[in-house]
Symmetry: C2
Subunit: 237 residues, 2 copies
DNA sequence: CCAAAAGTGTTAACTGTACACCCATGT
DNA sequence: ACATGGGTGTACAGTTAACACTTTTGG
C-alpha cells in the first residue's frame, strides 16, 4: 500500500528543541494525565511538539495544549528542561512516521538528539474535549497510578511534573485550576489528598484554605443526601 | 587593521540554544556574581556558551563553568529556561565579533533567536581563578547589589537566579557550597544574612542549623581576638 | 429521632522567637 | 578584672494538629 508520502515542513521550527506537556485533570477522585497513543503502534507518549522559529516557548506550549484539549488560557508552568544527549532516539520516531505514511528524510534533525522543555498543565476535566494529533489513534485520560509504558523518557518527565505539582501546591492554591468554577470543600479536600497521596484532616483543611481568603461562599448545594448541605465555593477574582 | 578573520565552527553546536550561568561567590561579607566584559566594548554579560551536539546540557554548563573558574565539580542547578522569541538580538553579538576580529556569516543561526537554559552555580570564592573567555577583556566578581548594566535579558536572568537561590536556601543547606571546607557559625550566618538580605538571630540560627544534623564540629579557631574561640564546622559526608 | 456529613469552638502539641546567663579568650 | 563574642538554658508567642460539640439534612 504505497501512497503519496506526507512531508512536514521542518524549516518552520527550531531544530533539536521540543516541548512536552504533562496535562493533569481530576475526575472520579483520581488524578489523571492526558496521553495520546500513536496510530498502529502500541506506543503512548506525552503530548508534545516543536517550537516555531519566531514563537515564544510558552506560546508553543499553549498551542500544543489547545490542540489536544480545545481549551484556551490553560494554566501551565514550565518545570524542567530535559537535556541529556541520549534521552531520545530517532528510531522510535521513524516507526511513528512509517506507521502514519509520512516521508522520512534520514538527514533531518528530527531523528537526532532532542532537548525538551517540560510544562505541566492543570485543566478543568469537564471542559476538555480531547482531540487526537496527526500521528495518533486515541488520546485518553490515564490514572496517574496506572500509566501505560511511555516512550522515551516520558515516564521520568511525568514523575518530575508530579513532584513539582506537589511541591507547588501549597504556594498558590494552584489546585483550583483542576476543579470546575464552583466546588465543595470536600471536593477540594479530596483533590488535595489525591495529589499529595495522603489523608488530610477535614476540620483543619477547611480552616487553612478559608484563612487564605481567596474563596467565596456562593450557595448551598443540596445533594439529596441525608446530611447538612455543604456550601459551594468559588475562587475570588 | 584588517587581519585574517577567526571563524567559529557552528556545526559543532545545537543551533538556537545556549546556556547562561549565574556564578555566585561569597567574599568580604558580600554576595558576588562572576561577570566577563567583552573586549573593546563597554558590555557585561553572563558567562555562557553553546551546547555541543552530543553533549548533555548539564555537561555544557559544567564545561562553561570550568572554563571561567578553573574549578571542577561545581555545584549547579538548572533554574529556568528563557524562551521568549524576542529576548535577544543578533546586533549585539555582531558588535562583539567585530570587536574581536571574528568572521561574521550573516546567515548564521548565531544572530537569530536564542533559547537559553539558565543555571546558577555556587562556588568557593577562595578556590576560583577567574579566566577570560575568547571575547573577553576581563572577568570579575561583582557585588550583587552593584551590578553593571547587562546585555540582553541577563539582568532578568540574574534576578531569577537570586530568587531561586533564596527560595532553595533552607531546603538543602546548599549555601555551604559558597564557603570553604571549614567555617565558623558566624561566617555561615553572615552568608545567610547576605543572601536573604535580612538580619538573623545568632542564637536561633545556630540551633536551627545544628538541628539539621549535617554539620560536624572540627576544632576551635583561635582568632587572636579577645573572646571565646568559635568552633570550626565542616559538612558531614 | 437517627445517621451522616458540614461547620466551628476549644485545647494540646509543636515550632519559632526572644531574653538571659555562662563560658572562653586576649588585653 | 574586663570587654567581647560564642554557646546554650529557658520562657513566651504564634502556628498547627487533634478533639469535641453543634448544625443541618433526608429517611
Amino acid at each position: 500500500m504505497e501512497s503519496e508520502k506526507i512531508i512536514i515542513d521542518e524549516g518552520k521550527f527550531i531544530p533539536h528543541l521540543s516541548v512536552d506537556c504533562v496535562i493533569f485533570g481530576f475526575h472520579g477522585e483520581q488524578l489523571k494525565v492526558l496521553l495520546p497513543k500513536v496510530k498502529s503502534l502500541d506506543l503512548w507518549s506525552l503530548p508534545g511538539g516543536y517550537v516555531m522559529k519566531d514563537e515564544d516557548i510558552e506560546a508553543a506550549a499553549q498551542r500544543i495544549l489547545e490542540e489536544r484539549t480545545g481549551v484556551t488560557d490553560i494554566y501551565l508552568e514550565q518545570f524542567y528542561i530535559f537535556g541529556k544527549a541520549n534521552r531520545s532516539t530517532g528510531e522510535t520516531l521513524k516507526k511513528v512516521l512509517l506507521a502514519n505514511n509520512f516521508a522520512i528524510d534520514e538527514k533531518s534533525w528530527v531523528f537526532e538528539r532532542f532537548v525538551s522543555v517540560g510544562y505541566y498543565a492543570l485543566v478543568d476535566f469537564s471542559k476538555v474535549n480531547t482531540k487526537i494529533g496527526i500521528y495518533d489513534e486515541v488520546c485518553e485520560w490515564h490514572d496517574i497510578h496506572q500509566l501505560p509504558d511511555l516512550a522515551f523518557d516520558h515516564a521520568e518527565i511525568t514523575l518530575k511534573a508530579l513532584e513539582t505539582l506537589r511541591f507547588m501546591l501549597d504556594d498558590k492554591l494552584i489546585g483550583l485550576n483542576l476543579l470546575p468554577d464552583t466546588f465543595t470543600m470536600k471536593e477540594l479536600q479530596i483533590l488535595y489528598e489525591t495529589i499529595l497521596d495522603k489523608p488530610l484532616r477535614r476540620d483543619n483543611f477547611q480552616r487553612k484554605i478559608l484563612s487564605m481568603g481567596i474563596l467565596e461562599r456562593v450557595e448551598k448545594k443540596f445533594t439529596g443526601a441525608a446530611h447538612k448541605a455543604p456550601y459551594l465555593y468559588k475562587f475570588i477574582k
